[in-house]
Amino acid sequence: MSLVYAGVCSHAPGITGRADMAEPLVRDRFHAAFRRMGEDLHAARPDALIVVGAEHFGNFFMNNMPSFAIGMADQYEGPIEDPAWLKIERRGIPGNAGLSRRIITEVMQSADVAYSEEWKFDHAISVPLHFLTPQYDIPVIPANINCQGPPLPPLHRAWNFGEALRRAADAVPERIAIVATGGISHWPATPDSGKINWAWDREFLERWRRNDRAALLSYTDVETYRDGGQGGFEIRTFIALAAAAGGAGTVHFCEPIPIFAVSCTIGEMSVENQPSPGT
């Protein structure tokens, strides 16, 4: 067993890009919680970090949209956004193509996944890395679930993808960490930006904390769109993480910060043994 850390976090571009517009006290507490998550991640001594993001057309478009994708390169670049807009400097980020290939090969045993030998990180990965690995000292393996261009993969397929990632992490000798990034309810990049359904967020996180598979998979996209906005489709990444970790979750931080457009969330999930495939 070599999954050594599992966590979730928000990735909204406002977290860095509009930091100066936020109420300072809550912003600083959230940023501190984000950095503490990075300390916990490092304490687990991972050899690589799989970031399961929900990107926003940084790499994938409706001409050939994969439901699930994993990067397979020794070097990535990010952020793709204007660095002055996101307030994160563009740079190279180390990967591990050989490890990616072994992970992808194992994931393919039970899930269909696209692979990509080039990948530009957008805020879905660059914002979390800014806080979690500010020295960029852990090789990253980017993974993506299509949460932007409908039709989207059903929630049970996101769960299946998480299980496949877990089997892959367990199959390699390296110590693997997985962090899933995304929002709960949010209406980003629209005039609604800042609208947050706090009750829906708390209910979702309660289901996530219990790792209640049936409850997590019971949302329909119609309900999610109505109650959680188009940004709510990103619950897929949190669901995949729950499937990968298998244990109970702890929410270290969750507070609405409207100028960041989302209930800013930091969570960790215990890694529990799972039955091997076919048993």
């Binding site: 057309f57 793709i80 005039p191 609604d192 188009q230």
Partner: protein
């Protein structure tokens, strides 16, 4: 299907500095390469964020075009509200407006 061409232009512009240069230097030749309606082409050529929003562009594509045009965040948000006021509700896609035109949920 034309919204596809509009969004593909934004996708290319956001990720490719060469497309950004061509938008500045040879806009007509660049836009000739995309299947756009007259309305879409006019909105892109003039940087009309409000109309592009109403036409149904995904906000995750559109907000970077606004940033490229030098528009601060509050200005981007207001342009979309103004677009809805002028042109009516968002016509396609999932990035619709559910708040009122005077409702500033995040203070901007």
């Amino acid at each position: 299907m034309s919204l596809y061409g509009l969004q593909k232009f934004l996708y290319h512009l956001n990720r490719d500095p060469r497309v950004q240069s061509r938008y500045r230097d040879e806009r007509d030749a660049l836009l000739d390469e995309y299947p756009l309606t007259v309305e879409e082409r006019g909105a892109i050529a003039s940087g009309d964020i409000g109309l592009i929003y109403v036409l149904g562009a995904n906000g995750q594509l559109l907000m970077h075009f606004a940033a490229y045009l030098g528009m601060p965040w509050p200005g981007y948000i207001q342009c979309m509200r103004d677009g809805v006021t002028k042109h009516g509700p968002v016509r396609a896609g999932v990035y619709t407006m559910t708040t009122g035109v005077t409702e500033k949920v995040a203070g901007v």
